[in-house]
């Protein structure tokens, strides 16, 4: 079966392209990025701030057992409903430089849509470092990692 989510990372480019086909109408897919309460459900993070407009900004915060374990934020440069979101993304309290994200939303059929996420990094090595530490990016994975380390210490 063909994979629904594809990641393309060329060795000689400081970028990653993630594509995903959804069994959802385009408007539903975009809505999932627009409404804070929906983002909270699928990203499993708290939306502290979200201003969907040019020069707006956002901040996410993830807690685990009452403790904040991951914070991220960014600035929105373009917000065109059902078409595109251009934004920066920063992971707080990490050494990862800010990255630039282009999110393109496309209608494929009445209830099929496609998201293309084009992420640009400061350098190839920053990109590779992130790929090698996916748990740094994944929020739940951060917990798993911490738990895993915790069990190893016992």
């Amino acid at each position: 079966m063909e994979q629904k989510t594809k990641v393309n990372a060329q060795d000689d480019k400081q970028e990653i392209i993630i594509t995903r086909l959804f069994d959802l109408p385009l408007e539903h897919l975009f809505k999932a990025y627009e409404e804070p309460e929906l983002i909270e459900q699928w990203m499993e993070t708290k939306v502290v701030k979200l201003e969907n407009k040019k020069h707006g900004s956002y901040a996410f915060e993830t807690s685990h057992n009452g403790q904040v374990v991951f914070r991220s934020n960014g600035t929105i440069h373009e917000f065109i409903p059902n078409v595109r979101i251009t934004r920066t993304f920063e992971m707080e309290d990490t050494s990862f430089p800010v990255q630039l994200e282009y999110l393109e939303f496309e209608k494929i059929a009445n209830s099929k849509s496609k998201l293309t996420m084009h992420i640009i990094f400061k350098s190839i090595s920053d990109r590779n470092q992130l790929l090698q530490m996916p748990f740094a990016y994944g929020i739940n994975q951060a917990h798993n990692r911490i738990q895993h380390l915790g069990t190893q210490l016992k």
Binding site: Q3, V7, R20, G138
Partner: protein, 106 residues
């Protein structure tokens, strides 16, 4: 030496990628590899050294010649780098899809 980092440096070079591609069909000696490139023999040797150092190639003495083999396990590791990252997004997007299937548009 940080091998993890070096594997990526190794495959970032186009000549080294060509060498790896060349060796996917068969093991070859340094001389046989070199004739495929317009670069000096010592340059090719240097590339082979780097690829061997980060374990992408395995050299094996065969009579008077050293033959280079692809270390498939290591190559697989390079490809696997992307997989955990892809899985995170797959899981997240699956969640998005299920949340939105239950959502009634206002």
């Amino acid at each position: 030496m940080n091998l993890r980092r070096d594997v990526f440096q190794a495959i970032a070079d186009p000549t080294r990628r060509s060498i790896l591609l060349l060796l996917t069909t068969q093991a070859m000696s340094a001389g046989a590899i070199a004739v495929n490139f317009n670069t000096a023999r010592p340059t090719v040797s240097k590339h082979l050294q780097i690829l061997t150092a980060c374990e992408l190639l395995k050299p094996e003495q065969n009579g008077r010649e050293i033959y280079y083999y692809l270390n498939l396990e290591k190559m697989k590791e390079v490809a696997d780098f992307i997989e955990p990252f892809r899985k995170i997004w797959e899981k997240r997007f699956d969640k998005l899809e299920s949340v939105m299937k239950n959502y009634k548009m206002k």
